[in-house]
């Protein structure tokens, strides 16, 4: 995708070797230029930006607006290079102090406002080489999404929580309760399972898509009707690496309104139209994709090989790179492990073949 834009830009700016940079910090702008083909190293660029804004000594994060207008980070050679080469024609750079960025970073704060920009980020972020000075990878991770909007009744919401590599707790509680259903016998009270509490700062709360008193209808495509609270708990924990819960929000006012059927979506309509027993299956994610996203077990061959070369170069990076680093760092922090295992012998196998 980026490559194609790059092409079109090189056509347009055929003979232009320099890229104009417009760097913004707060309300201040600085302008300078870079060589499109030899942009140099990120380290130098960082120094240049800090110097230009007179921010020497402060820790800053640097982002840029790509061709779609999305805010993407510049924090290593790769994405710096990409940013320069894909500039069209102007490279707009945004500088923030790290302390401020933490408050409303790419992740939590910016996310709710500009959710769409983050989807593309994840892969980008993971393709970075593992260098010690990696800035906030968690800022560039999708934490949740609403899926299957087109097939679910408008009163329901299917939320996917991405937890892999995230240090945040899922952070919610469920309870037993009753809900009203329209059945052949009329309105009937049936037992249901509800969200009872949100942990402040937890993943569930930060998504803004789940709330206390939302009724849980499904866990990863399996209905919870007829299941006990303990069963539902076990199912959620078993799926905690990639949890998809279908809820009937207690607050029905923020439902997604679909194009042609706007009429029936307002107000707190009870479930008269769509029986929760026959929710359409989760479609927009393929099972294989699901599997590959979770639980690739880590196998450590206990080969007592000679001391390994630097870790980074040994790691075969794929979409689970960050998991590795986490494991690795935990291993290194653990004196017991470092006795028994050499950290270099880590290898990771590809996604599991599914049944």
């Amino acid at each position: 995708m980026n490559r194609s834009f790059h092409k079109s830009q090189t056509l347009r700016f055929y003979d232009c070797g320099a890229v104009e940079v417009k760097s913004k910090f707060g309300a201040e702008f600085r302008r300078f230029s870079l060589d499109r083909h030899r942009p140099g190293e990120f380290k130098d660029f960082y120094q240049l930006v800090v110097h230009a804004h007179h921010l020497t000594g402060a820790d800053v994060t640097i982002g840029y607006a790509d061709v779609h207008g999305d805010l993407l980070p510049i924090n290593n050679d790769d994405n710096f290079c990409k940013a320069v080469s894909s500039a069209c024609p102007l490279l707009r750079v945004f500088v923030q102090k790290r302390e401020e960025a933490d408050g409303c970073s790419f992740g939590a704060g910016a996310l709710s406002r500009k959710r769409r920009m983050l989807v593309g980020l994840r892969e980008e972020g993971l393709r970075r080489r593992a260098l010690p000075a990696i800035g906030l990878p968690r800022d560039f991770r999708p934490v949740s999404s609403i899926i299957d909007v087109d097939i679910l009744p408008e009163t329901h919401r299917r939320v996917r929580l991405y937890r892999h590599g995230c240090e945040k707790p899922l952070g919610f509680y469920i309870r037993d309760g009753t809900s009203m259903r329209v059945t052949a016998q009329g309105l009937e009270k049936v037992p249901g399972i509800f969200i009872s509490r949100m942990v402040p700062g937890g993943l569930a709360e930060s998504t803004g898509l789940l709330a206390v008193n939302d009724e849980v209808l499904e866990v990863n495509g399996i209905e919870v009707a007829g299941k006990t609270l303990d069963q539902a708990t076990d199912m959620m924990i078993a799926n905690s690496h990639n949890l998809i819960i279908t809820v009937k929000p207690a607050n029905q006012r923020n439902n997604v309104v679909r194009g042609s059927r706007t009429s029936g979506s307002s107000g707190q309509s009870t479930d008269s139209t769509a029986s929760p027993q026959s929710l359409p299956p989760a479609q927009n994610f393929h099972p294989d994709e699901l599997e590959s996203d979770e639980e690739a077990d880590i196998v450590i061959e206990g080969a007592l090989t000679p001391p390994p070369p630097p870790i980074g170069s040994l790691l075969r990076l794929n979409s689970h790179g960050s998991i590795h680093r986490r494991l690795l760092s935990s291993l290194q922090a653990d004196p017991r492990h470092s006795l028994a295992l050499s950290p270099g012998g880590i290898e990771e196998h590809g996604p599991a073949v599914t049944l």
Binding site: L170, D176, A232, M235, A238, E295, V299
Partner: protein, 1013 residues
């Protein structure tokens, strides 16, 4: 390997009929039929269980969840009447259907008085089944005696005997209204069925003539009446009283008012407790037996549960460790015989059944072939071993027989009915570990769970109490002459002795046993008594890491120097884990002579040939403080356990009440969950919340070693296989060590080496409960020595092996030697249930001979049993088996290698279920009453006392021949072709003999069925 869905029904299905082993929980009533030679036990939960000869047993359940208060067999019939504590009467009968008897409830009845009368007027206190077979006399609290006609419980109102009517017929001087109150005793005259004896609690006893409607005799004692007993000839009546005395009343002549012989207070002169029941039994030799319950001196022995037997100068007070529910004396059943000649005393105590031989000197107990008191010390774990080689079986029995020398040689006297069940196809052992440090070996091959041998590990350790003390506690001249009987002893000297894991190798006779305080014992079977020192080794699972403090219990102190061990399994190695935490997993490889053990801190491998530790591995996460500190602090745990026990009590009350109204067993969990949920809301309690959080490496007890497994497989590369040890932890980690075991000729010279080869971290981090390696044909690797004994095909070492890891949430197959995931079944994600137990079972087809497949049997936390196919991990069938609320039942479940399972339904009872269609253990038996049998066996009324038992023995020998034909026919019914041919040939040879095999009354039982020799 793949089979169609139809073929699955050939392989497995949960049988409707289950077998219960052990002693009924909370027994509340005892009945005995001298004519059927069967006993009946009623329980507080409304169950009724009948037992005859070993293998003959029936069970019934009242629809009401009320305690059974009384059980009475109807004279000479296959029927019995039960009285529940809601005052309802129930008639049960044994009906023959398709060649086997079934216990069925026929009728029920509640006695109602005239409108407006007090409920106590019809509260039944005693029941007399009259010898005319169709009348029941019911004594009540009001003093009236009602008469009902069976089988329809038709009340004969005109024959009701009110106390007023009796009062009218009494002579003037005896007419005090005060002497009546409730009916305490109702007995038929032993010689004249038209006379019945009615005893009232205030002390009046009358003999009533049913024809004339008058008082024949009356006796008035000054003490509160507890019970009465006729002498066999009706010449004497004995009454027992609340002050601990009994009186003899001669019943002779025409005099109505009778004076007693001097009353006797057996344990006087100080105040005594009541004698609640008494038997007065005559013998041919002259001196009668007096057997009574209670009567002990109130102050010093008032808390004892005693039954005293007095015969001439001999007197023994049998002292039971639990409350006596009721007792019976087994005596001459033929009413025409001149004397009772009692031969056995049958006592039902709250926790065990004890039978005492009254014919042998010293009155020794008889070893019961069933109703074993499994919980004589609380069961802490169990282990099942299928298909025991004959050699080991005989050695275990031989070791056990040397332990049971204190038992009487009398054959089991309760031998009614005929067991028609085929002989068990193989010999199975169930090993139970107990809180007191013993391991009991049970014959679990058939319907009767019989104790074969008891191993005690206590001798290895120094404990506070010396076992020899208890023997000298009772001096010769003690009064009262107490004697402890029975095996129920719930008090453990030291909870650290408790057995937690057992592993028996059936081929080599090696046994590994591990306990609560981190002790791991390796034992070897020795037929001789031996004295030797036990090698002691310490395994430091923390590997000298600093900063850890164990706050749990101390290790047990081992006894220094040589220790004398009785024949049987004798320990030779003691590995002591440090810290001394509970041993949570154990594996033994008898071929490599290695034993592996794990606790919450790590695991280790020990070479018991060289008596050397091979390695230890710490699995503890450094931040896991909880695991370090050991069991919760005393205060906390006490509080917690109290709370839990209350909760359990409440729960059990609720769930057991709900058990019956629901027709379908499968519906119960759903329904009860709904009811519970609805109940919760109605009370408006703060709802229960569950936290949704992924497991993390920082969770507590992740290092807890859950499973250990030895396998000879391709761990390192695909060209060479080698011995390996696998360990799985609570945190979802699997460790694999490659082992180098020196060849046999250099086994003692070179050390066993181990090297960590792999570590797998399951991303879902659920506890690993099972590890298994499948060979090139996807068949689980055989047990050690199985191939050497030609009992298994050698595993396929050509194709690539696969590793199956079973966690609480998933089943996952990996390739070997390069570990990559191949298949998985996400059980928890699919249905919300977690794996509690999983093991491989061999399912044989019930249609095709010699066809069978290996699959996984799985028990979930919801009490469901599932069969998961190998190697494709497809869930095939699912049955709801244990109630999901029954946590201890689910925790106690063990699977056998042939698709059966055992779990505790109460502390004292195992329920056995079968998933295999081929191997089914169920009681199939036939009981027939006197009239259908034609004639009763001639009971030898003449001859010396000893002859009481002998005739039965000699008869049983001849009966064995008759008997073998019974099971043969049964085999035929089971479509066993080979046996069918055998039967055909017998029929052709001897046409007449087979026809009446069923009508033959069989006494005794064959040895294969568990004779008490």
């Amino acid at each position: 390997m793949t089979v169609t869905a139809a073929a699955w029904t050939e392989l497995c299905g949960l049988s409707e009929q289950t077998v219960e082993h052990g002693f009924p929980h909370q027994p509340s009533a005892l009945g005995y039929s001298a004519s059927l030679r069967m006993l009946a036990i009623g329980t507080r939960s409304g169950a009724i269980k009948l037992y005859g000869a070993p293998g003959v047993e029936f069970m019934g359940l009242h629809r009401e969840n009320n305690a059974v208060v009384q059980v009475h067999f109807l004279p000479d019939q296959c029927r019995l009447v039960t009285l529940l504590d809601d005052n309802s009467l129930h008639l049960w009968s044994l009906k023959v259907k398709g060649g086997v008897s079934e216990l069925q409830e026929e009728e029920s009845f509640t006695l109602r008085g005239p409108p407006g009368s007090a409920p106590s007027a019809t509260q039944i206190t005693v029941i007399l089944p009259h010898s005319c077979r169709e009348l029941l006399y019911l004594g009540t609290e009001s003093g009236s005696v009602f008469v009902v006609q069976l089988p329809a419980f038709r009340m004969l109102e005109d024959r009701t005997l009110s106390s007023d009517a009796v009062l009218q017929r009494l002579p003037e001087e005896a007419r005090h209204r005060r002497v009546f109150e409730m009916v305490e005793a109702l007995q038929e005259h032993p010689r004249d069925p038209n006379q019945i004896l009615i005893g009232y609690s205030r002390g009046l006893v009358v003999v009533w003539d049913l024809r004339t409607g008058g008082v024949v005799h009356h006796f008035l004692s000054s003490q509160q009446l507890e019970g009465v007993c006729w002498q066999r000839d009706g010449q004497l009546m004995v009454s027992c009283h609340s002050d601990g005395s009994y009186c003899q009343w001669p019943v002779a002549g025409d005099t109505q008012q009778l004076e007693p012989l001097p009353s006797c207070v057996p344990y006087g002169p100080f105040p005594c407790k009541a004698i609640t029941k008494i038997f007065w039994l005559t013998t041919r030799k002259g001196l009668p037996f007096t057997i009574f319950q209670g009567g002990m001196p109130r102050a010093s022995y008032g808390d004892r549960h005693c039954i005293s037997v007095v015969h001439g100068s001999q007197q023994t007070a049998f002292d039971f460790t639990s409350r006596v529910i009721d007792f019976m004396v087994l005596a001459e059943a033929d009413s025409a015989a001149a004397s009772d000649d009692p031969y056995a005393l049958l006592v039902l105590a709250e926790e065990e059944l004890v039978v005492i031989d009254l014919t042998a000197a010293g009155w020794p107990p008889v070893q019961p072939p069933y109703l074993a008191s499994l919980h004589c010390s609380a069961i802490t774990c169990s282990h099942h071993v299928s298909n025991i080689p004959l050699k080991l079986w005989e050695r275990v029995i031989a070791a056990g027989s040397k332990q049971s020398t204190h038992f009487s040689s009398m054959e089991w006297p309760i031998d009614g009915g005929t067991s028609l069940a085929p002989d068990p196809p193989q010999r199975d052992l169930l090993l139970t570990g107990h809180e007191d440090g013993t391991v009991r070996f049970w014959d679990a091959s058939g319907v009767c769970l019989r104790l074969l041998y008891k191993l005690s590990t206590v001798r290895v350790f120094l404990t506070d109490s010396d076992p020899s003390d208890s023997l000298h506690a009772q001096g010769e001249e003690e009064w009262p002459p107490l004697r402890k009987v029975g095996s129920f002893d719930p008090y453990s000297d030291d909870p650290r002795l408790g057995i937690q894991k057992i592993f028996l190798c059936k081929y080599s006779g090696y046994l590994a046993v591990a306990g609560t305080a981190g002790q791991v014992l390796v034992l070897e079977l020795n037929d001789e008594e031996a004295e030797h020192a036990v090698v002691q080794v310490e395994a430091d699972l923390l590997q000298d890491q600093e900063g850890y403090r164990w706050k749990g219990h101390e290790r047990l102190c081992a006894r220094p120097g040589p220790v004398r061990f009785e024949p049987g399994f004798q320990p030779f190695v003691l590995v002591q884990c440090q810290p001394p935490a509970v041993v949570t997993s154990l594996a033994l490889h008898s071929e490599w002579r290695l034993v592996a053990f794990g606790t919450s801190h790590g695991f280790g491998l020990f070479d018991h040939q060289q008596r050397r530790q091979v390695f230890v591995k710490c699995t503890l996460h450094p931040s896991d403080q909880l695991a370090l500190e050991g069991p919760l602090s005393r205060v906390k745990s006490l509080k917690k356990s109290l709370r839990q026990s209350f909760r359990r009590m409440r729960r059990s009350r609720v769930s057991s009440r709900k058990r019956r109204p629901m027709g379908h067993p499968g519906e119960v969990p759903e329904a009860s969950a709904k009811v519970e949920r609805a109940g919760l809301q109605s009370v408006e309690l703060a709802p229960v919340q569950r936290k949704i959080e992924a497991r993390s490496a920082e969770d507590s007890f992740t290092g807890f070693v859950r499973t250990l497994y030895f396998a000879d497989t391709y761990l390192r590369d695909s060209s060479r296989h080698c011995p390996s040890l696998w360990a799985g932890t609570n945190g979802g980690t699997v460790y694999a060590f490659s082992l180098r075991v020196p060849p046999a000729e250099r086994r003692m010279d070179e050390p066993v080496r181990a090297e960590q080869a792999k570590e797998i971290q399951l991303m879902h981090r659920a506890p690993v409960v099972g590890i298994l390696v499948l060979d090139g044909h996807s068949v689980p690797l055989p047990e050690p020595l199985e191939v050497a004994h030609d009992l298994s095909k050698s595993p396929d070492m050509q194709g690539s092996h696969q590793l199956l890891v079973i966690s609480e949430e998933q089943f996952k197959v990996f390739t070997l030697p390069k570990v990559s995931a191949k298949l998985k079944l996400k059980l928890t994600a699919l249905e919300g249930s977690r794996v509690r137990r999983a093991s491989v079972a061999h399912f044989s087809s019930c249609r095709t001979e010699d066809y069978g497949e290996h699959h996984l049997t799985v028990l979930t936390n919801l009490g469901d049993v599932q069969v998961v196919s190998l190697p494709l991990l497809k869930p095939q069938v699912r049955f709801s088996c244990i109630r999901r609320e029954d946590v201890s039942g689910i925790a106690s479940c063990v699977f056998t290698k042939y698709g059966q399972g055992f779990y505790l339904i109460s502390p004292s009872e195992f329920e056995r279920f079968s998933l295999s269609t081929k191997w089914l253990v169920e009681p199939r038996c036939l009981v027939q009453s006197v009239e259908t049998k034609g004639h009763r066996r001639p009971h030898n009324g003449a001859g010396p006392e000893k002859a009481e038992v002998r005739p039965r023995n000699s008869e049983s020998r001849s009966a064995v021949e008759e008997r073998t034909r019974g099971p043969t026919m049964q085999h035929a019914l089971l479509n066993d072709e080979r046996v069918l041919k055998e039967v055909q040939s017998t029929l052709e040879g001897d046409r007449g003999s087979c026809g009446d095999w069923r009508s033959q009354r069989v006494v005794g039982y064959s040895l294969s069925n568990g004779g008490a020799e």
